[in-house]
Amino acid sequence: MTDRDRKALEHDAILAELAALGEEPMEDDELTDAEGMAVAFDVLHGRAVSAVPAEASEQAFEGARLLLGGSEASALDGRSAALWGAVAARVAAPARSPDDELRTLGEASLVAGEADAAAVVAHVTDGVLGQQALPAASLGASLPTAEAIAGLQLLQAASPAAELTAARAAVLYQGVAAQVGRTSSGAGGNVVPLRRAWPWQGVIAAAAAVLMMLGVGLAVSQWPSPEPLPMAVAQIELDAAERHLGDVERTSLQALVGSSEAPTGEAGDHFLRPLREARSQAMMARVQARERRL
């Protein structure tokens, strides 16, 4: 079933629901508003949000606010209630609060500032794992995080990421060899460290190569969600992901070697973005492959 088919079915179901209630058919922008309302509900309950519909009206969010307030819910007419029902599947029953969870574990309740400290540690961990970081505004220098971060450092030092496999070492050495080989054969002998300066020649060819790798990376990263696999199959997948990451890095390196001119500012960002994205996606695919092997 295509996305278009799925949307058509959802649309028909909503129309049927409205008809059963004796309501008028749905207006063009009503579903967008309903989705916006669901997103608002997600936000207010701290759930992940993939995207806020750009067309959603302010009224949709105001409607969500009223619903969450509770007291005004009775003022909703049947039409709004039907629309709310259409998006209710996206809004499961609220999960337990932190205090509920801690109580279940027999732990002390949250203390003042602890939730903020936890957000800071989450931010630090995002950075450590190379994942999408929380907004920097959530950082607070005076929050009590030292103990947790010391624990994080100990745990990370003993994590699988702290080990360099032979296969990975071989891939990394190719980058070093390319770099020092260029240095030793160059007329001036100046080393261009791997990320200190970025060459500009051959950008078009390099960008094409990277975009091709990006396409492969997307295909790899869109594997089904992790499920247990036979060990041998999972290892093959992991090896493939490792090789793909190595290919991406080699392609990027080739794109960057060969010029002394370094793009900076917006031009540099524009040039580097596809390289970073390709590498990020390849690394994510490796993470997924590793998870499937576990």
């Binding site: 701290g46 609060s97 932190p98 450092q153 990370q156 080990e163 070492a169 020092v180």
Partner: protein
Amino acid sequence: MTDESHSRISLEQERELVERLKRGDSGALEGLWHAYAEVLYSAVIFPLLPARDRAEEVLQNTFVKAFERIGSFTWQSHGIYPWLKTVARNLAMDMHRKDQRLDRFCKGYGQHVEVIEVEFGAAGRPDRVLVEHERVSGLKARVREVLQSEDLNARYREAIELRLYHEIDREECARRMDVKVGTFDVLFHRALKRFQKLYHDRFGDDE
């Protein structure tokens, strides 16, 4: 890379590789890479810079820098490893200070790392490769012992393993543990604190 690979290179062989490097033979770098890349990564760089992509980048730049600066290295009886280690540590700390992406979280981790670096420096860290390996192996064994301890709540253990060892993002961790993201953050924070306390209670200030 195995421990065996580290014992394959003798001081004489190492000295010969260094001499070749000094003569501009970049191929000699591979021997040093095989001997020291893994231990530099796991014992020196990653503990300071526990972001895999950046740690790998520092490792590569350590050897590029070594090749670039080999002329300033004077052979010592304990070989080139202490010098490589200094180069790696300096590059890792430079990365903390200069990298804009890391700067977003170095307020937390970086400050902590700078403190322990000073403490390690004052204590005089071992420079011999096998000692470094033993140190890392010992740390891993102690961490495993605490992680598997019954004193650590099973939910805390799950939060740590999902987030750090399976490298799963917060949203997915929260979904798997059937809690909200904010609740997961609190659980993970508590888990780290409890782990740190248990580790400290059992092993004192051992790294």
